[in-house]
């Protein structure tokens, strides 16, 4: 059974149909790509999947459960992690603190009375957090204020913040935007390692097709809110209609 199954997803903004009966599915541990020109509705689809936007019609099932009426935080607790196209970091906190707060929320450590009677201990190194910081290459900058980090490090912090919660699915929204070639390649290596572990499924929105090819196995193509094509990466990217949508009419 599919981990995530979204059917007939429709979202309108006033007179604009941003998503029109879109279908996507992700198997457990699978890496899926989502491509399409700017304004195709990729980020809106992510917003609908994790609850930032409400659907006009359609159904989202996650791990066998209907989730399209749940608020964002409950979907997160069920195991949907996410990164953002425009970085959403916690101002004034370090990279380590980003991961720590996510880890604590994940453990359900957020009760007020626990803080008051001192059950939640102060900043002690958490093995899971330290491992992830090392794996993402963030050790050196772990204690710097987040505002002083580069865009590339910021993207890694967002990824780490999602992964520290051991999500079943992580939605990655254009992780390569704002990164240079070297940083993109490094980010790709991290994603490939994540895919090969097969514990976390991922859905990748990305314009860098090399990155998409190297990470995902299956791909969905969106254009003007409609699903244009889906299937194995190489087949779909060779498809005539997809090439036209993406690269323009070459003739």
């Amino acid at each position: 059974m599919a981990l995530l199954e979204a059917t007939g997803i429709t979202k309108r903004f006033g007179g604009i149909v941003a998503l029109d009966a879109v279908f996507v599915a992700v198997e457990p541990g699978e890496a899926v790509g989502l491509v399409g020109p700017n304004g195709a509705g990729k980020t809106t689809l992510f917003d609908c999947l994790n609850g930032v936007q409400h659907l006009d019609s359609g159904e989202v099932r996650f791990a066998g459960r209907r989730i399209d009426r749940l608020p964002v935080y409950e979907r997160a607790r069920l195991g949907i992690g996410r990164t953002f196209q425009r970085l959403e970091l916690f101002a004034g906190m370090s990279a380590r603190e980003h991961l720590m707060v996510a880890e604590r929320v994940h453990r359900g450590d957020g009760r007020l009375w626990k803080d008051l009677i001192g059950r939640a201990r102060a900043a002690q190194p958490v093995p899971r957090v330290e491992d992830l910081l090392a794996e993402l290459g963030l050790k050196e900058v772990a204690d710097d204020p987040i505002e002083s980090l580069s865009q590339g490090h910021g993207r890694l912090v967002e990824l780490g913040r999602a992964l520290v919660q051991d999500p079943l699915l992580v939605l990655l929204d254009e992780p390569s935007s704002g990164l240079d070639t070297r940083e993109t390649a490094e980010f790709g290596t991290v994603l490939v390692r994540l895919r090969d572990r097969r514990a976390t499924a991922m859905m990748l929105v990305e314009h860098d097709l090399d990155l998409v090819r190297s990470v995902v196995e299956r791909i969905y193509v969106l254009e003007f809110g409609k699903l244009l094509a889906s299937g194995p990466v190489d087949e779909v990217l060779e498809d005539e209609a997809v090439r036209r949508a993406y690269l323009g009419d070459l003739r």
Partner: protein
């Protein structure tokens, strides 16, 4: 029908004044993005200058020229050029606090210049108030009412002619639609912006001079209420439409008088609801109009870019240095404690105990604004709820005062939950205005009943007694205040260190990302408002018990604004900041008491100007200076020979 008209017509002059203010407010907000909360103070400034000039024997027209044509635009222009211009793309809190600082500083500066004696019977602008010109639906129309309506109509006519038939008018209209497009069209938007500030300030001055004779005497507080009425009227036009804002103002004035006519007279409902109408309307609009919320949320894309705050003073230096600092801090605290119990004279112990009570109230602002990024402009009202609950329980039910203080905190927390409900949907400016409206509502209605604040006579709160242990003496009460403050600080520190504190910091950083890692923002915000209200309530009850008697005026909504300004000036991010604010607040007040009475106005001026520096030093002036001092000492520790 005649009865209806006879009630409605006296509302027109008020409506005209509201309308002028609302239009001016929308003009500057639309074009500069700064919500000018000091607008009421500008109106007051012109009214005061007009009063002073007329009383000095000037003819009315000369006084009008000086007060409305010269002083008002100059004041507005000065504020724009020296302050608002620099913070257009700043965060909402920065803009808000700067404007609040001006709102508080301007009336005090005026009192310092012109003296703060009572000013009875403000002069009318044009037609004499005594003479009746004609009767309309049974209402005698006097000179004040007639001239207000005529002048307003003339100004509105003139302004709309100008906006439709002159070059600068066209540009101003374009600017009000979209400042960015005006810039792209190659127009010097700065110059148009200046023209708009001049026009808007002129309207404020005119409104102030027109409004003044409707009151028995000239008071700055009346103009703050005028400001809220204007905000409500502007909100009727979604803060964007000038005509809607204008008619909203007229309507508000008329409805207010209708309520006064139809509601049974002599009850709290009629004496309270009539002045409270603008706040109720504002609160309702904020909650009901989704357009208003959206607009205020996505105010300015730049407003979210925030440079990282500098490190706190406590985090500087190596471990040995930190240890030494900690020892020094405890030594200071210990010396303070022992001094107050031994050689400090009684009246100063009293003052410092007041400071401890205020520190608890200020702790609520640190928790709410500094730690959680929420804005509340009604913390004094929560303090009032705490104090009155404590007093009423002790007076009527013989409840022990210590229990009463805690009960006061608990009830304030309950009310805090109710206030938090709009906070779930609103943010930034909308939330600030909603809490301001709530505070004014508490002032004008909530605290006026005999079972709550008991109006002007106030509520008695005895000093606590536990068995044979009495806290009636000044020193015993001081110890109690120290213990309560320590307990409250410990609670805040524990929350900050724990998971909830981390989640609060995350929410302050990015609500979207906080939700996407599984934080329940609704629950978190309700918790924050409840805890903050409880802290304010406990502080207020303690203050009340210290004073013996407290009246609603001790917790008026203007005080909420002052509290906010004081805390952000001294330091809004740390518990230490709250205690510094509490101490600075009372000590400065006491010191100014030794000077001639006029100089007590220095106090709001100092903090008002202090708030303006918030844009540069969000960590607070005291925190900033402390950090500098510690850095110098730390440097000296490293290289003793280079500092001589």
């Amino acid at each position: 029908m005649t009865e209806f008209l006879s009630y409605a017509i006296p509302g027109l002059p008020y409506g005209c004044v509201f309308a002028l203010m609302a239009v001016g407010l929308v003009l500057t907000y639309q074009t500069s993005g700064v919500f000018n909360l000091a607008y009421g103070a500008q109106a007051y400034a012109s009214a005061l200058v007009f009063y002073v000039c007329v009383n000095a024997g000037w003819p009315n027209w000369a006084a009008f020229v000086v007060a409305v044509v010269l002083v008002a635009p100059l004041l507005g222009l000065a504020m724009d050029r020296f302050l608002y211009r620099f913070i257009r793309s700043a965060r909402v809190l920065v803009k808000l606090v700067s404007a609040l600082g001006m709102l508080i500083a301007i009336p005090s500066a005026l009192a310092l210049i012109f003296g703060n004696q009572q000013r009875l019977a403000p002069p009318a602008l044009w037609l004499p108030p005594g003479s009746v010109y004609f009767h309309l639906a049974g209402d005698a129309i006097n000179g004040t009412e007639l001239s207000t309506v005529i002048v307003t109509l003339a100004v509105v006519l003139g302004a709309s002619l100008m906006s439709h038939f002159t070059q600068i008018g066209l540009r101003m209209r374009a600017m009000a639609e979209s400042p960015r497009m005006v810039q792209l069209a190659g127009i010097n938007s700065e110059r148009v912006g200046i023209a708009i500030w001049v026009l808007s300030s002129f309207l404020a001055g005119l409104a102030g001079v027109l409004l003044a004779p409707l009151f028995a005497d000239l008071q700055a507080l009346d103009f703050t209420d005028l400001l809220v009425a204007a905000i409500a009227a502007a909100a009727l036009g979604s803060l964007t439409s000038l005509p809607l804002a204008f008619w909203g103002g007229i309507g508000l004035g008329v409805v207010q008088e209708l309520l006064g006519g139809y509601l049974p007279s002599g009850t709290v409902l009629s004496s309270g609801l009539r002045p409270a109408l603008p706040f109720v309307v504002l609160l309702g609009l904020l909650l009901a109009l989704p357009g208003l919320r959206e607009r205020w949320f996505h105010d300015d894309p730049l407003s979210r870019c925030d440079p990282p705050p500098p490190p706190m003073a406590t985090t500087i230096g190596g471990y040995g240095f930190k240890g030494a600092l900690r020892v020094a801090r405890w030594a200071v605290l210990f010396a303070f404690f022992v001094s107050c119990l031994t050689w400090v004279p009684g009246n100063w112990t009293f003052t410092l105990t007041q400071g401890l009570a205020f520190s608890i109230v200020f702790l609520s602002i640190v928790f709410l604004t500094g730690m959680s990024g929420q804005i509340s402009l009604c913390q004094a009202s929560f303090a009032g709820i705490g104090a009155f609950t404590c007093g009423q329980l002790a007076g009527h039910f013989g409840v022990s005062v210590l229990v009463g203080i805690l009960a006061g905190g608990a009830l304030a927390a309950l009310v805090g939950v109710v206030v938090a409900l709009p906070a779930l949907r609103l943010g930034g400016l909308a939330l600030a205005l909603a809490t301001l409206a709530f505070g004014l509502l508490a002032d004008n209605v909530g605290f006026q009943f005999s079972w709550s604040g008991n109006g002007d006579s106030g509520v008695n709160i005895p000093r606590p007694e536990v068995g044979s242990l009495s806290f009636a003496s000044g020193k015993a009460f001081f110890v109690l205040a120290c213990v309560l403050l320590a307990a409250c600080s410990a609670v805040v520190l524990a929350i900050r260190r724990g998971t909830t504190g981390r989640e609060l910091a995350a929410m302050r950083g990015s609500e979207l990302a906080a939700a996407s890692i599984g934080t329940n923002l609704a629950k978190l915000k309700i918790t924050v408002f409840a805890v903050a209200a409880a802290l304010a309530g406990i502080g207020g009850a303690l203050y009340g018990s210290l004073q013996g008697t407290v009246a609603p005026d001790d917790f008026n909504s203007l005080l909420s604004l002052v509290f906010m300004v004081v805390v952000v000036t001294t330091g809004v991010y740390t518990v230490e900041g709250a205690i510094q604010a509490g101490m600075a607040y009372v000590v400065l007040y006491q010191l100014l008491d030794y000077l001639p009475s006029q100089w007590s106005n220095l106090f709001p001026i100092l903090f008002g100007l202090g708030a303006v520096t918030y844009a540069l030093h969000p960590e607070g002036i005291v925190e900033w200076q402390k950090r500098r001092a510690i850095e110098i000492v730390a440097d000296w520790g490293k290289h003793p020979e280079t500092v001589g």
